[in-house]
């Protein structure tokens, strides 16, 4: 009760707070009278938005009417709101621009929540516009009403409910500014129907905005960077561990310079793949629960760890107590102070934008008289090469009668490695195999849901990317479980001519669940077998696409070749893979990252 009264106080004072942000108006635009929905369109145009993924409904009809009357923004009608958010999210991951989705009130907003949470966990810049019931109806349990701001609050960087159409332009400016600056993230803007209808004087879209309560740092602290430099250059067993933050900051070139300058080993998290070329010897592969032996052993045994745009999450460091058994000094570069010293105590925190900090660090290294200890480094590399010799990603290729899922990914990589290709995935075993066996050499080419682990993102991600990159080939590596979670989007792919290639590794099991049940639950396969699967070839054909069934190992490459030839068609490749195959290496829950299972013989 006390809380809601205090809220009431804040509401009554909200008008006064408008003066707390400074926005610079656009160059002397003459004032015109526009409806709220038209102001919204002006805002999207000013933000250079080319695509909006969405689904209409009562509360957003004014906005859809305004969309109809313009041409610069293309609206893509999805088949489910979740996919609208995923597609815009995929677009944002591939391009670095802010992805925009538009949904109606009530179920439109609740359907979008999974997509919003997915983007939030991976810090993807997005603006999600949701319709709301008219302001006088809010709180009346109106038709298709829900508290969108309340429901989405824990899974957004910020959200707004616009109660006055006069606030629209400035709020949209804030939304885009917040979404793309600092640690990026999704921002929800909830717009009641009367607000999008109301006519207001439009003074132009603000060219810039300043908020006294939100000023993310960019530049790292010089003194801290200097301390980091000393530590890095005197390391005997150094290691560079990077995550999604390097890609979000577009700092791949800086990372490459740094690694090449120092000659230190480097690893990436699932979200960081592609920042440093996987084909280079200095890259030890992905680390973590399904990381390589060499990546994990190096992590455990290094004496100086440079963590860049990564957050030491549970899938990366395993059991924190085990991780802490070995002493090491940790330097952590991250734009979000709350990511630093959250799970692992850090010795030298550097808060700042990865690109800015790395640029400064590189300049200092070049000027420094101290050089890395070549002798110690050579010995360290010898140790690492010893681990690498174990060849932990080696797998039994089996006979021609059975398709190994790893082989499908490897074949795809071999065929496409020098081409302009994007790979999306869903969540499960196929995701891990894609991460392990597709060697990403470029940033923003590997698009998956790392933090939330959302099944169903693969197809929407692929169609979002294909729209932005029509000249590129987009593959969705998925499984028969995940793919059915957003399969309705095959229809959207046809309508908007976004031909994607679906590589479905169909083992008839929810494979990762089955693997855990084998390892942790003595083989009690509780609800992990999928009986009564659809005929995916016919399903693809029913949606107007091409379906292929591949059952023998020798047919894998020809099938992929044929599918690639069908440039303007979406192709669904149903690969029947070995149902017993597991993802190795594997770190069991609660174990340390060096306590790995390398094959089923370790079970």
């Amino acid at each position: 009760m006390e809380i809601s009264k205090a809220e009431a106080v804040s509401v009554s004072n909200s008008a006064a707070s408008r003066s707390t942000t400074k926005s610079k108006p656009a160059a002397s635009a003459p004032d015109t009278e526009l409806r709220g929905a038209e102001v919204l369109i002006k805002a999207l145009q000013a933000e250079n938005v080319k695509f909006v993924w969405g689904y209409p409904g009562g509360a957003v009809l004014h906005i859809y009417d305004a969309l109809f009357k313009q041409e610069s923004i293309q609206h893509i009608l999805v088949r489910h709101e979740q996919a609208a958010v995923h597609a815009a999210d995929g677009y944002a991951r591939a391009t670095g621009d802010v992805g925009v989705a538009l949904v109606t009130s009530g179920p439109g907003a609740t359907n979008a929540v999974t997509g919003i949470a997915t983007a939030y966990m991976d810090s993807i810049p997005m603006v999600i516009i949701s319709g709301q019931v008219p302001t006088p109806a809010i709180g009346m349990d109106a038709f298709q009403e829900c508290d969108t701001v309340g429901i989405t609050r824990p899974v957004v960087k910020h959200n707004f409910l616009i109660k006055d159409a006069r606030d629209l332009a400035e709020t949209m400016k804030k939304a885009f500014h917040i979404a793309r600056s600092g640690r990026p993230g999704p921002v929800v803007v909830d717009i009641p129907k009367d607000v999008s209808f109301k006519k207001v004087l439009f003074h132009g879209y603000p060219a810039s905005i300043e908020m006294r309560s939100y000023n993310p740092v960019r530049k790292g602290h010089g003194g801290q960077i200097r301390k980091a430099l000393q530590l890095l250059l005197t390391a005997k067993r150094p290691y560079i561990y990077t995550g999604g933050g390097v890609l979000l900051s577009n700092a791949s070139n800086e990372l490459r310079q740094l690694v090449d300058l120092l000659g230190y080993p480097v690893t990436h998290t699932l979200m960081g793949l592609g920042a440093y070329p996987a084909s280079d010897r200095k890259f030890l592969g992905m680390l973590g629960m399904h990381g390589t032996l060499e990546a994990n052993n190096t992590m455990q045994n290094c004496d100086v760890l440079l963590a860049v745009g990564a957050r030491f999450d549970d899938r990366v460091i395993g059991n924190p107590k085990h991780f802490a058994q070995n002493e090491r000094k940790i330097i952590h570069i991250d734009i979000d102070p709350s990511s630093i010293s959250k799970r692992v105590r850090v010795d030298i925190p550097i808060v700042g934008d990865v690109k800015d900090v790395l640029t400064e660090l590189i300049a200092m290294i070049k000027e420094s008289a101290v050089k890395p200890d070549a002798g110690a480094l050579a010995a360290w590399w010898d140790t690492i090469e010893g681990w690498r010799k174990r060849d932990c990603l080696k797998y039994d290729h089996g006979t021609n009668d059975v398709i190994k899922p790893q082989a499908v990914v490897e074949t795809l990589w071999n065929m496409t490695k020098s081409d302009d290709v994007y790979i999306t995935s869903d969540v499960g075993q196929h995701q891990m195999w894609a991460a392990q066996y597709y060697r990403f050499d470029e940033p923003r080419r590997w698009i998956n849901s790392g933090g939330l682990g959302t099944m169903g993102v693969g197809i929407p991600y692929a169609m979002g990317i294909k729209l932005a990159k029509p000249e590129s080939e987009v593959f969705c590596i998925t499984g028969e479980g995940s793919v059915q979670m957003c399969i309705q989007e095959l229809s959207t792919c046809l309508q908007y001519n976004t031909p994607i290639k679906i590589v479905s590794l169909n083992n008839r099991y929810l494979g990762m669940v089955r693997q855990w049940q084998e390892v942790e639950y003595e083989g009690r396969y509780s609800s992990s077998y999928m009986d009564a699967l659809p005929n995916f070839v016919k399903l693809a054909e029913a949606y107007g696409h091409v379906g292929m069934l591949i059952e023998r190992a020798q047919d894998v490459e020809p099938a992929l070749r044929e599918a690639r030839k069908l440039k303007d068609r979406t192709v669904f490749m149903d690969f029947r893979t070995d149902p017993t195959e597991n993802v190795f290496p594997m770190v069991r829950a609660g174990s340390g990252i060096t306590e790995m299972l390398l094959s089923s013989e370790d079970l």
Binding site: A6, S10, N13, S14, A16, S213
Partner: protein, 163 residues
């Protein structure tokens, strides 16, 4: 360990629920929370009393700062500070208890702000331990009702929290 954190935040709809949501979502505890607008009506000031290890408190202040509407965060317990809480206690006051309650109230520098034939309402201001002490000093059966605002805190001397 007990910490008192002072927060300046935009006086906007929903700002308070973001703070409360942060504590519940991340499993931090709130022992008390007070909030009201400041002399600048665009700003609210909040005092949060919480407890946790140094690591947890560090995460709490970082996460508070991460909220878009939060302007400034200070852990008052890191330096010299003053804390006050207002408490109102309705007590039974009949027969010889009546004189005793009056005396107890005087000892704790309380004020009787409402009187009936059978009860007193006593107003007390102080840090929380003083208010706790008062409650344990009087006979527990005599307490009819208590209401406490939770702690408000301010830094001593030159320690000033403002925009």
């Amino acid at each position: 360990m007990k910490h008192i954190i002072a927060v300046l935040l935009e006086n906007e709809a929903g700002a308070l629920s973001r703070v409360v949501g942060l504590f519940s979502a991340r499993g931090y505890n709130i022992e008390s929370l007070t909030v009201a607008p400041t002399e600048d009506p665009s700003l609210s000031r909040m005092t949060i009393q919480t407890a946790g290890s140094d690591e947890v408190i560090e995460q709490i202040t970082k996460h508070l700062n991460r909220l878009i509407e939060v302007v400034k965060v200070v852990d008052l317990t890191e330096g010299a500070y003053t804390e006050r809480e207002l408490m109102m206690v309705k007590v039974r006051a009949v027969g010889k208890e009546r004189e005793e309650m009056k005396r107890m109230s005087d000892i704790f520098r309380g004020r009787i702000i409402d009187v009936t034939e059978k009860s007193y309402t006593i107003e007390l201001t102080g840090d929380q331990s003083k208010n706790d002490a008062f409650l344990s000093a009087i006979e527990s059966g005599a307490i009819l009702e208590t209401v406490r605002t939770g702690a408000s805190g301010i830094g001593r001397g030159e320690r000033i929290l403002r925009v």
